[in-house]
Amino acid sequence: MPVVALETGRFSQLVGADKKKILDRLPYIGLDIESVETDRIRVEYSPNRPDFGTDYGIAKALRGLLGLELGLKRYEVHPSKIVVSVDPELSSVRPFIACATADGLDFDDEDIRQLISLQEDLHNGLGRRRKMVAIGLHDISLLVPPMRYRAADPSFKFLPLGESNPMQLDQILAETDTGKAFGGILAGKNRLPILEDSKGTVLSFPPIVNGSATRLTTNTKSMFIDVTSMEMPTGDDVLAILATTLADMGGKIGSVKVSYQGASRDTPDLTPSQVSLDTRLISRVTGLQLSDKQILDCLRKSRLDVSGQSVLIPRYRVDILHPVDIAEEVALGYGIDAIQPEYPPSKEPGSLNRLNQGLDRISESVAMAGFIETMNFDLVDTVSLYARFSRSSDSRIEVENPKTIEHSVLRDSLLPSLMAVLSRNVQATYPQRIYEVGRVFLRDGAKVVETPHLSALTAHSSASFSEAKMYLEALALVHLGGPIQTRPAAHWAFAEGRSAEVLVKDRSIGYMGEVSLSALAGFGIDVPVSGYEIDLSSFLQNKL
């Protein structure tokens, strides 16, 4: 989740409150305080509030909650007279663009840092790593409108930001870091998007890189913002957040006319949107009995406002989807810590699941016989599940792109996990008796079937088949409905001649035996090991 660094002194001034008050209230606008240092507070914000990407956005919200500045903040937009024409060829490449200007800027280093951080967060969040939305921030002073958002050949050349020589578009994609990171978004396109002014100065090559000519510095007084996107509403949302942030920073926002073949629209549109005010719903959701005035006060603390029967929502709020979102704004304005909890008593009695109860009873019995219960991961590595037992891994169930190979296949047996536990405990005293009750995963055509299994192993200098059988038989008589029959049968875990299939009432339920020498060697265990693994499914009731 994205993080914002708040310089304490600067932030305190922006908010108009001291550090203590700020730290106390930050959680109540939904921010997680990551760390508090003498000169800095780092906060984490949720992706539904991209407007929290700078200290300006957070300060705006906090001032509301603290009662220092209430209601909707109005944003004025004046027409900049700049036109951006859109090449229809781009409709199959990267169709939408929305732009704005910001004048009268007076940035310091921290302002720029905050702005770049916001841009990065927008790219990763709403921008879906630039695939959905990409942003270009430009110093306007050298640009000569109108601008053209057009399709260019891969051989088109310009000087990208960060490079010393002009490069072709295909070169940029193949050779630069951003080209390699984001070039996949333009894969398969033989005409690529370029934003340039009337003199051919390139502003950007979206979503890859900006032109060097329009680089931002602390001297920048006027900016041009371009937001390209795959979906117009999301592009507009991102532009709105950037424009309102720049306005918060003291900029005057200018609208740009974006001209698609024939039709044109002015961006950004910062007029507040409206959602109907449903006071009954608000009461229902929050459990608070509030008068209309109280509701209004709470909304104003959340920097919203009411006009007639509608709630006015500032353009930088992209998270209001449904009237319940208004109910939450009321609760936040009220103060989550001011809400009185009320315990909801139950009318009906509860009950525990029979399948789980059954598994528990069996597990208790095994523990009572002197075994230590282990819990091991369902995702294991192919070596301990297959190779160490000379098994084929053809039927394996794999996960895509696991972060570690230790957790890459779903286990179809518990026994290898138990062997791994024994191999990690060769320094502990013997006898070692361990077990696990868990699920195993098997392919059944196109489906995956999950089955509860029990496996137990005993390890010590005289561990034997008869010992394992003694334990399993005792368990079977109590929980499995009868004595076990053991027929000789080969199994990948057990030594030849010391391996058996286990049956109860003529139905096969699993295997038992003495673990083979090669498996012992593979796991580095120097004492004999014997045990069993059985399928518990037919012994558990899972429906009433």
Binding site: V285, T286, Y343, P344, N542
Partner: protein
């Protein structure tokens, strides 16, 4: 009350008395050796015996001598030839004139040498070589060890004293305790040996006793000796904690669910109003099963209602996520990332307007493991469905639930989930970290979630993790320790007594 019977001597006491039977003063270390017992055992026996007056102790000061350096006069002697040596030549073998003069003087006064004039030069000759050699031998016998002063032969005592003054020999003093048997102790030792102990009861001894009517005495054993280790079978601590959680839920009127760990993406994500391009749905964070899909997911019924809600809000009154919903994405099989999938399914199948259900089971996230993160862990999800429920009830429930699990103090802070509004994160206080720690999330399900399921009453939901809470309880700082399979910990961990009322 009559006088209590005299308790027989403990076998350790008997051994120590036997080792002291010579009625000599014996020091502690020698006693350990001669009794064949461990130092600890000897210490115990000595303290019992002393309190009974059967042995007595005294502090002894032992003086020993060690050789610091060679006496100069011996060096002188060694340098004298058979027929004598010129004094000048001898003088040169010494570092200083003073040393030479002292050596000469000492050798002379001991009567070992004589100085004569020969041809006008002083010559030193050996007068009593044997005596000198004897002294040399004496010093050799002391070299490289500590010798008790008492063991020095009488004829060398005064010589030794002189050597101490001259720093040739060094005197060391050490105090030690020595022990000696008393007359009562001698008597007690004698009595004890005449007793007839048997080592242990056996079926034969018991049978014989019945026949003969004689009851032999059992030799007393050292009851304070440590027992051999034994590790009883045990449940895994996470299972024990899960049991506790299930019981808390039961006590609050909840019905337990269980279900498959493998789910189609539809129930894990789409049904929870998580858009199909949400970053959390990516392979980076989720375990998708290679090449496996659920073909029963088709755009009809509940699937269609959910899809429409994503696209445009359907009839929920929402704006929706405004994108094109795809069936193939919803069909992908994955390992569930939370348990809400079970509660949501139950919601869709239930015809009841009121319900309380929970599930405590495994969830999976495609993460690298570190001290705070696991790829497989457990959540204790629950929902309460009912008319009139609101966020205050959610807060009330969570406060009570955590109180029953031993966390007296929980804080609820606003947060965000795509499927709940309002959303609250549950914070618990860690005594070890001295800080508030996130225990899990909760909220009121959005209408975009409940309405497509056919539920038009509020649903409160929460899905905190189990392992985080266990770390706080057990004072562990590494979450992986819970699943390491460390037998030492699994065998020896101390039972935790919940501090909740």
């Amino acid at each position: 009350m009559s006088e209590p019977a005299k308790t027989p001597l403990h076998p350790l006491e008997q051994r120590v008395l036997a080792a002291l039977k010579d009625k000599q003063w014996v020091d502690f270390d020698s006693l350990v050796k001669s009794s064949g017992l461990l130092p600890d055992q000897v210490r115990r026996a000595v303290s019992w015996l002393a309190s009974k007056g059967l042995i007595t102790s005294r502090e002894k000061t032992t003086r020993t001598l060690t050789v610091q350096q060679d006496p100069a006069e011996l060096l002188l002697i060694r340098g004298i030839g058979k027929t004598g040596s010129p004094m000048e030549k001898l003088r040169q073998t010494f570092k200083s004139n003073q040393e030479f003069a002292a050596a000469l003087g000492n050798a002379r006064s001991s009567g070992w040498i004589a100085v004569e004039q020969k041809d006008g030069e002083p010559i030193v000759t050996l007068k009593d070589k044997d005596k000198a050699m004897q002294n040399e031998a004496f010093i050799e016998s002391l070299r490289g060890k500590e010798t008790e002063e008492g063991k020095i032969p009488a004829e060398y005592r005064s010589y030794a004293e002189k050597l101490v003054t001259r720093n040739v020999l060094k005197r060391n003093e050490s105090k030690s305790v020595t022990l000696r048997i008393t007359d009562e102790g001698v008597k007690a030792a004698g009595e004890a040996t005449s007793e007839d102990w048997i080592e242990r009861l056996t079926p034969e001894v018991i049978a014989r006793t019945r026949l003969t009517g004689m009851s032999p005495k059992l030799r007393p054993i050292d009851v304070s000796a440590p027992a051999s280790g034994f590790y009883p079978g045990r449940r895994h601590p996470v299972r024990e904690f899960i049991k506790e959680v299930r019981e808390v839920y039961l006590s609050m009127g909840f019905v337990e669910l269980e279900g498959d760990n493998v789910q189609p993406s539809f129930w894990n994500f789409d049904a929870l109003f998580i858009p199909q391009d949400h970053p959390g749905r990516e392979m980076q964070d989720t375990f998708y099963l290679s090449g496996l899909v659920d073909r029963t997911i088709n755009r009809s019924g509940v699937v269609d209602r959910v899809a429409s809600t994503h696209e445009n809000g359907w009839t929920t009154g929402s704006r929706g996520w405004r994108y094109q919903w795809r069936t193939e994405e919803a069909r992908r099989l994955l390992l569930r990332t939370h348990n809400t999938v079970l509660t949501i399914k139950a919601l869709s199948e239930s015809k009841n307007k009121e319900a309380r259900v929970f599930a405590v089971s495994k969830v999976y996230r495609n993460e690298s493991l570190d001290y705070k993160h696991l790829a497989e862990f457990h959540q204790m999800d629950g929902i309460i469905v009912g008319d009139g429920l609101n966020v205050r009830h959610l807060m009330g429930f969570l406060t009570e639930f955590y109180k029953k699990l031993g966390m007296k103090d929980v804080k609820l802070w606003p947060t965000f989930f795509p499927y709940t509004e309002p959303s609250l994160q549950i914070m618990g206080y860690s005594e070890i970290a001295k800080d508030w720690i996130e225990l899990g999330g909760s909220g009121v399900f959005r209408p975009e979630v409940t309405l497509p399921m056919g539920v038009d009453v509020p649903v409160l939901a929460w899905g905190p993790g189990i392992e985080r809470l266990m770390l706080l309880r057990y004072g562990l700082d590494d979450i992986r320790a819970l699943y390491d399979g460390d037998l030492a910990w699994l065998r020896k961990r101390v039972e935790f007594a919940s501090s909740s009322t």
